[in-house]
């Protein structure tokens, strides 16, 4: 049979089956189980109405249970067992987790995931906010918006292929087909090389450090205010944030020193994806490129929801455009920013396709999802693979809960 015809039949049978299920189960409930006649008609109607939601929800609940809830528990079970040679399995307790924690590749994946977690949501949200604010001001803003949004329509694998071409390398005597190398070969160590490759990155890092310091200060400041009620967890949480901030500031300051110390190999084409540590950022660019459109669309809608008269009141109060943006508009859309940020964070924690398609975790670019895939389907080690999956779930869950809570508050 022609595959197209097969597909068509599948669609008809599937959709028809759904319609038939809802129609006939409803008929069964109303006509056979609790018919609205006889001496108990009223009670039967009430009972039928109580059962109906469950009847209609059943297919969804069943599918979710089978494909989502059951695998969670099965994965948990698998992560505590080990495959025996020749078939069967045995209970090994937490041995898989112990083995996993002993592997340097796991720690590399965890570190990279944390890097992704900091950089991608921050960059996507920041660029999205910037694009949303700027495109609202110009005549061709809608065209710009469509262009920025378009990567959302490209699959992660497709985007990875595109960027692999951008990062592509040819020998120095051949024409470069990768845009990045073509650009790189323009730098020859002169004045502009100094500006673009030393000063600009240093300024970006410095700005990042300043923002981190500012955010940390906002978190820590209430500790010095006396008389305010503090919860049990707030002080350790604040200290943790402060510690993380100090670490990040240290990292960025050290990087600035490194930038100025580094001897750059001018004139040689680079294999970008094999430069340890920095290649992570080349991978992140792909996801930022995709997610900026998402952030922009949501934030643009939120910005339009900011009442125009509060902006006008701020103008009369003497605020300049920057103050209007950061002190009037951004605080008003803060809940939306949080939802966007956490949504992207969840995408980042699950990131797999980009790493799989571009480096497959080589050259120190491993991330947790690809690590799990590696263990589960290549090494055929279901125990450690499942353990890695549990770690990912553990990391995603709190953010997911927070995200849903924020989104629901937003709706209210």
């Amino acid at each position: 049979m022609n595959p197209a015809l097969q597909g068509l039949i599948t669609i008809v049978v599937g959709v028809g089956g759904c319609v038939a299920y809802y129609y006939f189960s409803n008929q069964l409930l109303d006509k056979v189980l609790f018919p609205a006649r006889g001496p108990e008609a009223g009670r039967n109607i009430n009972r039928a109405n109580m059962i109906r939601p469950w009847l209609f929800l059943f297919p969804a609940l069943f599918a979710l249970g089978l494909y989502l809830a059951y695998p969670v528990f099965e994965t948990l079970r698998l992560s505590l067992t080990q495959r025996l040679p020749g078939g069967g399995s045995e209970w090994v307790g937490l041995q898989n987790y112990r083995n996993m924690l002993g592997e340097p590749k796991f720690w590399e994946a965890l570190r990279n995931n944390m890097l992704w977690l900091i950089v991608v949501p921050a960059a996507s949200t920041a660029f999205g906010l910037l694009a949303a604010q700027l495109t609202d001001r110009i005549r061709w803003g809608n065209i710009a918006k469509s262009l920025i949004f378009m990567p959302m329509a490209i699959s992660f694998v497709g985007a990875s292929v595109i960027f692999k071409l951008i990062y592509d390398t040819r020998a120095a005597d051949q024409p470069q087909i990768g845009v990045l190398n073509a650009l790189w070969l323009q730098f020859e160590g002169g004045f502009w090389s100094l500006v673009f490759l030393k000063i600009v990155p240093a300024l970006i890092l410095l700005a990042f450090a300043a923002i981190v310091a500012w955010v940390a200060w906002i978190f820590v400041r209430p500790m010095f205010k006396t008389g305010e009620p503090t919860g049990f967890w707030t002080v350790p949480l604040r200290l943790f944030v402060a510690g993380a901030a100090i670490y990040l500031i240290f990292l960025s300051l050290r990087s600035i020193v490194n930038i100025f110390g580094a001897e750059l190999p001018y004139g040689q084409p680079q294999t970008w994806l094999t430069i340890p540590f920095w290649n992570n950022f080349f991978l992140m660019v792909v996801l930022i490129w995709i997610q900026t459109g998402f952030a922009m669309v949501i934030l643009s809608a939120a910005l339009r929801g900011v009442p125009e008269d509060t902006v006008e009141a701020a103008i009369v109060d003497g605020a300049n455009p920057f103050q209007i943006f950061f002190r009037i508009k951004v605080p008003q859309i803060m809940p939306t920013i949080v939802v966007v940020w956490t949504t992207i964070t969840i995408v980042v924690l699950k990131v797999f396709d980009i790493v799989f398609a571009m480096t497959n975790g080589q050259w120190e670019t491993q991330v947790l999802a690809n690590y799990m895939y590696d263990k589960l389907f290549r090494a055929n080690d279901w125990g450690i693979g499942s353990a890695a999956a549990m770690v990912i779930m553990l990391l995603v869950t709190p953010i997911l809960v927070w995200n849903v809570w924020n989104a629901r508050r937003e709706l209210r």
């Binding site: 009442p307 509060t310 006008e312 009141a313 103008i315 109060d317 605080p331 008003q332």
Partner: protein
């Protein structure tokens, strides 16, 4: 102490002219009310004074200084918005101190100004609340407080009471009147479409219509001596009745034969040779009184009555396409419905309009 001077002020959006030839001299300490039908440009004019809309023609002076291109914050004005426009993410205190903070005032100065305004507006207990935790009236007071702390030379109010319920509107109107009395040297400009607000608050009213000023004057001037038919019908409720007629007698008093068969006598003087001039005779509903005399101004059948207790409003029968004549009689007269009633009016309260302009004001 700041006066405003508007000279030939105009506003156009591209080809569309919204306002033109606005000339207005506002003395320091006045409370000027802009009224007019919706779309007449009264809010636009206020926003031009505030600096939120660009002035496309003419000059605006505040305190003798041309401010056409001065940013809003440096014009010495503060504005109270119709929707309050409170910053929803800031407490009442932060809302009120935002402008001072931007201006770089010291914390002590800011605290003093906020405390003072909060005391005057009874907002003390709410200073640390967010706007969403306040009632409509309280939000309105915060918006006024935000203006007060800046101690501006000119206060601008853009329909500040239109979002309040009827009872609160009256109370807040009185508060604004008292606020004005407490600051006799501050100029206020107030936009409204509510005549009661205009009549009670204003030292002078500016009636705007058709992209220009129709008349400027004290509330009673507008009521007693309207310059044109528009102002005559806009001020006062129900609107003034207009009867078509032809002058039959001139002199210090003018006699008019009306199209409906009646005759009117007006205290408005006319010149010799104006016999036969077609005019509109305007009489306010409250100035019409029933009469049994042979000489009547209008007679007609009462179609409908509205007894409000203190007054009864009579709606007379009108042919389709005509405006019904309305009379407002003191007391309760519900029994007049369906009856034929004759009306007359005091000559001093009979207005004469020719081509829409009052004959009283012609040169």
């Amino acid at each position: 102490m700041a006066g405003l001077k508007l000279t030939d002020v105009a506003k156009a959006y591209g080809e569309v002219k919204v306002l033109s030839n606005i000339n207005l001299d506002i003395s320091p300490g006045e409370l000027i009310v802009f009224v007019g039908p919706s779309g007449c440009g009264k809010s636009t004019l206020l926003r031009m004074i505030a600096g939120l809309e660009k002035i496309t023609g003419g000059t605006l002076e505040i305190d003798g200084v041309r401010v056409n291109d001065v940013p809003p914050a440096q014009r010495g004005i503060a504005m109270v918005f119709q929707s309050y426009a409170l910053y929803p993410h800031m407490t009442v205190r932060d809302n009120m101190s935002f402008a001072l903070r931007l201006a770089g005032k010291s914390q002590a100065e800011i605290d003093a100004a906020v405390e003072k305004a909060a005391r005057a507006l009874q907002l003390g207990p709410y200073l640390d609340r967010l706007p969403k935790a306040l009632s409509g009236g309280q939000r309105q007071r915060v918006a006024i407080g935000r203006a007060i702390v800046r101690d501006p030379k000119v206060y601008l109010f853009d329909e500040p009471l239109s979002n309040l319920d009827a009872a609160l509107r009256v109370a807040t109107r009185i508060e604004i009147a008292q606020l004005k009395e407490a600051m006799p040297d501050r100029t206020m400009i107030y936009v409204t479409h509510d005549q009661v607000e205009a009549m009670t608050l204003a030292s002078r009213i500016v009636v705007l219509a058709g992209g220009g000023i129709s008349q400027v004057g004290t509330p009673l001037e507008l009521y007693e001596r309207p310059e044109n038919e528009f102002v005559a019908q806009f001020i006062g409720s129900p609107a003034m009745n207009l009867f078509k007629g032809e002058i039959t007698g001139t002199g210090t008093a003018t006699a008019v034969r009306l199209a409906g068969g009646g005759t009117a006598v007006s205290a408005v003087p006319t010149r010799d040779g104006e016999q036969g001039l077609r005019v509109n005779v305007g009489v306010r509903p409250e100035d019409l009184v029933p009469t049994d005399d042979a000489a009547f101004l209008y007679q007609g059948t009462v179609d409908y009555t509205e007894a409000l207790g203190e007054v009864t409003i009579l709606y007379f029968h009108a042919e389709p396409g005509e405006t019904a004549v309305i009379a407002k009689l003191p007391g309760i007269h519900a029994d007049l419905r369906g009856r034929n009633v004759r009306l007359k009016a005091d000559p001093r309260k009979v207005h004469l309009f020719s081509n829409g302009k009052s004959l009283l004001y012609r040169k």
